[in-house]
Amino acid sequence: MSALIAIFVFPGFLFLSFLGTVVEFIDRKLYARMQNRIGPPWFQPVADLLKLVAKEDLVPEEANPTMFKLMPVIAMTAVLTAFLHIPLWNSTPLIALDGSVVVIVYLLTIPTLTFFLGGWHSTSLYSMIGAVRTLTQLFAYEVPLLLSILAPALLAHTWSISEMSEFYSRNPLYALTNSIGFLVSMIALQGKLERIPFDMPEAETEIVGGTFTEYSGRLLAMFRLAIDMETVVGASLIAAVFLPFGLHFGPVAGFVLYLVKILGILLLLALLRTVTARLRIEQMVIFCWKYLAPAALVQILLSLTLNWIIK
C-alpha cells in the first residue's frame, strides 16, 4: 500500500505532475517577464492540460494506432521511473540501485525515443522530419550529457547516485570542481528538453508542430505532461549530481532547499532560451561535438587528475 502511494501520490505521479505544471508555469512566466511581457496566470498549464484532456483524440488514418497511442504512455512512465531513482531532499531515493546514474540517464533517453517513434508512426511529413531531427539531436547531446555526469561519479568512486550525494555532502568543496560539467549538462539538458536554441524538432515556423503535429487531445496532453515532468527530473538530476548541498537539514528545510535548487536551474534554462535564436540542426550537432563533448572530456580529465592527487 505504501509502495502504491509512493508511486502514484508522493513522490510519484501526482506530486511529479503537480511539480511539472508548476515548473512549466514558472518557466513561462520567467520567459515572458524577460521578454517584457506579462505572461500567463498561475493556473495556465493546468488549464491547458485540462482543455486537452477534454478534447477528442484523433488518430490519423495512415498511422499505426497501437504505436501512436502507446508512445505518450511510455514517455510518461519512463520519466516517472527515472524520478523515483533520484534523491530529492536527502541522499536516499525511493529506489536505491548500485548503478542508478546509468539507469537514470538510460530512462531519460526513452522519452526522446518515444517522440521519435510517435512522430515516425504518425506518418505526416512534418512529424517525420521532426522525428528524424529528434533522433539526430539525441546523438548530439546524449554523449556530452553522459560524460558530464560521469565525471562527478569518477571522483566519488561510485555509480550510485545516493552514494555520490553522500560523498559530496561530506566533501562539499569537491562539488565545486565539477563546474564545467555542470554547465555542459545544463546545455545538454536544454537539448534533451527540446527548448530554444535546440527546438528544431518542433520548430513551428519550419515544420508546423514537428513530432507532435498529428497528436491531439489526451495523447498530446500526456506528451506535454511528460515533457514538463522531464524538466523536473532533469533539473533534479543536475541538482543531485552537481549541487548536493544541505542534504542533512531534515525533510522540511531540505525540501525547500531542493525547490530553490530546481528554480535556480530553471532560471538558467529560461535565460538561455530568452537570449538565443534557434540553431539549425547541423549547427547543433557541430556545436555539441566540437565544444560540448570536449568540455565534458576536460571535466573527466580534471576528475581523474584530482583522483590521482588525492591518492
Binding site: 524577460m34 521578454q35 517584457n36 511581457r37 511529413l125 512534418y126 517525420m128 522530419i129 528524424v132 530554444i196 536554441p197 527546438d199 528544431m200 520548430a203 513551428e204 515556423t205 519550419e206 515544420i207 508546423v208 530568452t274 537570449v275 538565443t276 535564436a277 534557434r278 540553431l279 539549425r280 540542426i281 547541423e282 549547427q283
Partner: protein
Amino acid sequence: MAKVTIPIGPQHPALKEPECFIVTLDGERISHLDMRLGYNHRGIEKACEARTYVQDVYLIERVCGICSHSHSTCFVQAVEEIAGLQIPPRATYIRTLIAELERVHSHLLWLGVAGHEIGFDTLLMYTWRDREAVMDIFAALTGNRVNYGMNTLGGVRRDFTKEQLAEVLKVIDICEERTKYYIEVCTQEPTVINRLSGIGHLSHDDAMRLGTVGPTGRASAVDKDVRRDDPYLAYKDLSFKVILDNHNDVFGRAVVRVLELMESYKLIREIIAKMPDGPVTVKAPRKIPAGEAFSRYEAPRGEDSHYIRANGTDKPERVRVRAPTMANLQSVAKMLEDNNLADVPIAIAAIDPCFSCTDRMIGIRTGKGTGNSIRWDDLRNYGVKWYRKQGIDFTDLNRKLAKKQE
C-alpha cells in the same frame, strides 16, 4: 531518407498570408522550390475602375495593411499629375512625414518577424513593443493605427499642430535608442549571426537580372532608391544616405533595414524642422481630364509603381498596381537553391513579402483578337470536371447541400 516534397503553405505557421511554396527535400537540403501565387486575388484593380477617384484613394490604401500610405500616395501622385494639380508644400511635407513613420514601423515589424522565423521570439517581443509607440503616434496624428486615410486628391486631410510634432520627436528619440540596441543584437549575437549570414545568397548580378527592388536589392549592392533617383514628395530638399550592403545574404538584408531605420529617424527630424506653413490642400476637380500617368514610390519593401489612365470622367479607365513584393518574389527561388529546410522561412521573410498586395490576374488574349472570356456557368462546369479528373467528386456533397437548403 528518400526525396520528400513538403508544401509550405497555403496554410503554414511561417506564412502570415496564403502563398504556396512546394519544397523538394533531399534530407534537410532543398533540391527544388516551386512557387504558386494567386491565393489572395481580390480584384482591386477592377474595383477601382468602378469607383470614383476619391473613393479609389481609400480602396487603394487597403491594398496593403502595412505600407498603406505608400499605395495611396503613389495613386494620388499619378492622379494629380494627370489633373495638373500643384499640392501645397506643407501637404508634401506631411505626406513625407507619414511615409517615413510608416517605414519605421514596417522595418521594426520586419525585424520582429525575422526574429520569430529564426526562433528568436525575444527580438519579436521587443521590436513589436517599440513598434507600438509608432502605432500610437499614428493614432494620435491621423486617428488610425493602420490605413491612416491621410491622403486626398490635392493634399492631405489633416493638419498637425506643433505639439503633435513635438510628440513625434519624443517617440523617435525612444525608437532611435532602441534601434541602436537592435543593431548590436543583429550584428553581435552569435546564434542570430549563425542563422542569418550565408543564408539566401543572391549575388549582385542575379539581383540585377531578377530585378529586385528595395532593401532586398540594396543588400546585394543594387544602388537603387526612388527617393534619390526620381525624387517625389519632399525628398528633393532632404538629405539622406541610401544604405547599401554587399553581404548578399539575409544578414545583409537585416543590416540594410536596421540602418535604414536610423536614416528614417534623421529624415523625420529634418522634415519636422523644415516643415513649411500654409494650407494643406487645394481643390481638386471631380472629373479628371483624359491622360495617363505612371508614378513611382519607394515603399518600405521597395519600389511601388502605379499606372493610371483617365478618360475625362470621374472614374479611372485603368488602374495598375505593382507592389514591390512582385519584383522580389522571383528571387526567392534563386536564394533558396541548395539551402536547408530550416532556412526557408527566414529566406522568404527576408524579402519582407506582402502576398496579398501582390496577387494580380492577367488575361492573355490570342493574336487574332478573340477574347478568352468565359461565362460563369462554363467556369463552374470546368471546375467540376477538373476536380472529377483529380478524383474529387462534389456531386454527392452538392446534392446534400441542396437538400439541406430545402
